[in-house]
């Protein structure tokens, strides 16, 4: 690629001609350098900015605030996380004054684990427990999203978010999830379970402190 600048040979006896330089500039080194720089910038550029998951914690009640609306027990799904990626759930409220205490069920973080319970609910005939899942709300939101994706509904992102929030507000059937973490729980598990709430479009969930009754229940729970 290098250009050889040919020098005019001097003719003997002739007039001394001024050296004629080629008008072309050898661009090879420049191109080399540019290639290098481009490669460097391409490799160092971080195109993928970190993503964040938004989470809102309940504000502690101020004096004078109206008491929080009571949560129907049959809709309450308590998820208890424990060490070694263990995950348990029970329905209702664990009140030591009103025995028997609810039974802890063990599940896992897989697709057929907690997600199935959140979406499809579960039923335990021996104790007569029934929890309806979030199927209705999930279908509603998923259908809306699909229609938007196909172009059947044309809504801006802000309107779409508003509508989805409205769907969630109107929901009266889906579970109300309380997430509680025992000792030595990894941060990963909390993020996973909150993420699961987002995947299954749960309308209302909160991360709350675990209480001593539940800690006791954990001790006797199946490993």
């Amino acid at each position: 690629m290098g250009e050889i600048i040919q020098e005019e040979s001097h003719k003997k006896g002739g007039k001394r001609k001024a050296k004629k330089h080629s008008t072309r500039i050898d661009m090879t080194p420049m191109v080399d350098l540019m290639c290098l720089l481009i490669t460097f910038f391409m490799l160092t550029t971080a195109f993928s900015k970190p993503k964040v998951m938004e989470i809102t914690m309940p504000e502690p009640p101020k004096p004078g605030d109206p008491p929080p609306p009571s949560v129907p027990a049959f809709r309450t799904l308590n998820i208890i996380l424990a060490d070694n990626d263990r995950i348990y759930y029970y329905v209702g409220i664990a009140n030591p004054k009103k025995p028997p205490l609810p039974q802890l069920f063990k599940t896992d973080f897989s697709k057929n684990g907690i997600r199935k319970i959140l979406l499809l609910g579960f039923e335990d005939k021996t104790v007569g427990l029934k929890l309806s899942g979030n199927r209705e709300l999930f279908t509603k939101i998923a259908e809306y999203r699909e229609k938007r994706l196909k172009g059947q509904i044309v809504d801006a992102d802000s309107i779409a978010n508003k509508k989805i929030r409205e769907f969630k507000k109107q929901d009266r059937k889906g579970p109300i999830v309380l997430i509680k973490a025992g000792d030595k729980v990894k941060y990963k598990n909390i993020v996973d379970i909150v993420d699961e709430m987002a995947i299954t479009n749960i309308a209302s969930y909160a991360i709350v402190d675990i209480n001593f009754v539940e800690l006791d229940m954990l001790k006797t729970a199946p490993k």
Binding site: F41, S48, I55, N189
Partner: protein
């Protein structure tokens, strides 16, 4: 028959369009690149389906390493005339009776996340950057010496618009993160971001039927 003379082609290739394109690309990459500041600890974030992008300005980041050490970072804001970092450090120094020179404050303004207790802050600022790692023992946040709480408070006072992000290692203990969340709630931050890595995962409509 005379031979047909093959025209001698010049071996030169015209590189001008290539150079043009290269300069364009180069300019693009140079302008879009924002160098990632050196991080105080290697943090492997957990995964989620969230696609919300983390804001690059006006953000307070609290990092939790795998061993539960806490690091803090806040930027100087979108406006180049604001010096939030220096202001915050000045308040912190006043609180812990440490005298810092204007040069040290300026130097702090240019740095990113840190995990040093206030007592070694001065040494940390003046030491060779390669040796800083040794001083990073995490910001204390127990009830006796709650420095993180003060960092959050002064940051909130200096820049109330800053969003809060918690960047925890997947294997960090939730207990530490919980403590940070409580501290944030004490400082009237009820909405915060958890930094995660995007991994697609969804339930199909056919799965629930």
């Amino acid at each position: 028959m005379p031979k047909i003379k093959q025209p001698v082609k010049s071996p030169h290739i015209d590189m001008t369009p290539m150079v043009d394109l290269f300069s364009l690309l180069l300019t693009f990459f140079m302008l879009t690149t924002s160098f990632r500041p050196q991080e105080a600890a290697i943090i492997d974030t957990p995964t989620s389906i969230s696609e919300k992008q983390s804001p690059d300005k006006n953000i307070m980041t609290i990092e939790v390493s795998k061993d539960g050490l806490v690091f803090f970072n806040i930027d100087n804001g979108r406006d180049t005339t604001t010096h939030f970092r220096a202001d915050i450090l000045k308040e912190m120094a006043k609180r812990y009776n440490i005298v810092l020179t204007p040069k040290e404050l300026l130097n702090f303004g240019r740095l990113a996340s840190f995990g040093v207790p206030m007592k070694s802050m001065k040494t940390w600022l003046n030491i060779d950057p390669g040796k800083r790692m040794k001083l990073e023992t995490g910001i204390p946040m127990d009830s006796l010496d709650n420095q993180l709480g003060y960092w959050i408070r002064y940051s909130r006072l200096a820049n109330p618009d800053a969003e809060v992000a918690i960047k925890g290692d997947a294997d960090a203990e939730y207990k530490v993160v919980k403590k940070i969340m409580d501290l944030l709630q004490d400082n009237k931050v009820h909405k915060f971001n958890l930094t995660t890595t995007l991994v697609k995962d969804e339930v199909l409509l056919s799965d629930v039927k």
